[in-house]
């Protein structure tokens, strides 16, 4: 996505700035922190095996809005900035509102490219977050969320947060939401419009 003409990486707030207490590592996420790819858990917790692809711009979305989103300013040349998603291709720069039973897809870290359908709308849902990796938990209630069918967590599992929920069409699907939570039967996404409004951003794509 972009703010003005500056490209940013979009993910969930609890992914990019999830370390909210000093806790075990004596750090909290701050603007300017490096955002690395792959994540630490995929590189045996050795950050030098990963690449820095962006720098965190702290937004505190969970604390200050009805969304869970985070952004990082792109380090030039480290990511594609044309709106391409692995397994899906280049998305549309336009967004779409969700509809019941609408086919959807996402590409995520843990389950890869998966397909499902919108099973619910306008959810009021209480979500459990951790204050840092393996830290204490807290709950926040979100309103107006998108529900996606997730039987046996085949669509979304832990590690998939921050995946963009898009129409299951080709080419150039429109973004519908940002996936951030789930349980054994459903996945939950912030509606894309509310999230873009919070960030003052727009999508990139075709």
């Amino acid at each position: 996505m972009q703010i003005g003409t500056t490209p940013y990486i979009l993910s969930a707030g609890h992914v990019l700035e999830g370390d909210t207490v000093l806790g075990g590592n004596r750090r909290v996420a701050r603007t300017g922190d490096p955002i690395i790819q792959p994540g630490l858990i995929d590189e045996q917790c050795n950050r030098f095996l990963a690449q820095s692809v962006g720098t965190l711009i702290k937004k505190r979305s969970i604390a200050t809005s009805n969304t869970d989103c985070g952004i990082a300013r792109v380090i030039g040349g480290m990511v594609q900035t044309d709106g391409a998603i692995l397994g899906i291709g280049t998305i549309s720069r336009n967004t779409a509102a969700p509809a019941l039973n609408q086919p959807v897809q996402k590409s995520g870290r843990s389950t890869g490219l998966t397909h499902s359908h919108v099973s619910g709308l306008n959810a009021t849902v209480s979500v459990v977050f951790t204050r840092e990796c393996h830290g204490t938990t807290y709950q926040k209630t979100f309103h107006g969320q998108i529900v996606v069918s997730n039987p046996s967590q085949a669509f979304l599992r832990s590690g998939d947060s921050g995946s963009l929920l898009v129409e299951d069409v080709s080419p150039h699907p429109r973004a519908i939401g940002l996936l951030f939570a789930g349980n054994k039967s459903s996945a939950f996404a912030n509606p894309i419009g509310e999230m873009l409004n919070f960030l003052g951003a727009s999508m990139v794509g075709n």
């Binding site: 969930a12 609890h14 992914v15 999830g18 994540g39 858990i41 995929d42 869970d68 019941l100 039973n101 870290r109 843990s110 389950t111 890869g112 099973s119 619910g120 709308l121 306008n122 959810a123 009021t124 849902v125 209480s126 979500v127 459990v128 977050f129 951790t130 990796c133 393996h134 209630t141 309103h143 969320q145 529900v147 979304l156 599992r157 832990s158 590690g159 998939d160 947060s161 921050g162 996936l179 951030f180 939570a181 789930g182 349980n183 054994k184 039967s185 459903s186 996945a187 939950f188």
Partner: protein, 110 residues
């Protein structure tokens, strides 16, 4: 002197007696289901173990309904969830807690 507290008590008792019927009336819907959800989500989420409510569908004809998610099986909570609200069926599901999906378990990556 004691009449006022008694009247207040009777009034509160009448409110308690009429509230479940108001919530669970079986008549045809008069309001959009999203409006109904917005009017009742707080009461539903106040029931122990309820972690979410949303607009969904049931049956092959995809009838609109309200779905209530429970963190765990809880017969008392299931009993407190109305079967109908303002003419819409209410379906209760035991789904578990809703958790942020950021922290991966190792070895899951595809």
């Amino acid at each position: 002197m004691t009449l006022v507290p008694v009247l207040i008590f009777v009034f509160l008792l009448s409110l308690l007696a009429t509230y479940p019927q108001a919530m669970a009336q079986n008549s045809s819907p008069n309001r959009d289901i999203n409006t109904v959800l917005a009017a009742h989500d707080k009461e539903l989420l106040a029931i122990p173990d309820v972690v979410g409510v949303y607009v969904g569908t049931i049956g092959n004809d995809r009838q609109l309904c309200l779905k209530v998610m429970l963190a765990r099986a809880n017969p008392e909570s299931e009993r407190r969830v109305p079967r109908m609200i303002e003419g819409y069926p209410v379906v209760t599901e035991v789904t578990g807690e809703v958790e942020a999906r950021g922290a991966p378990d190792s070895g899951q990556k595809r």
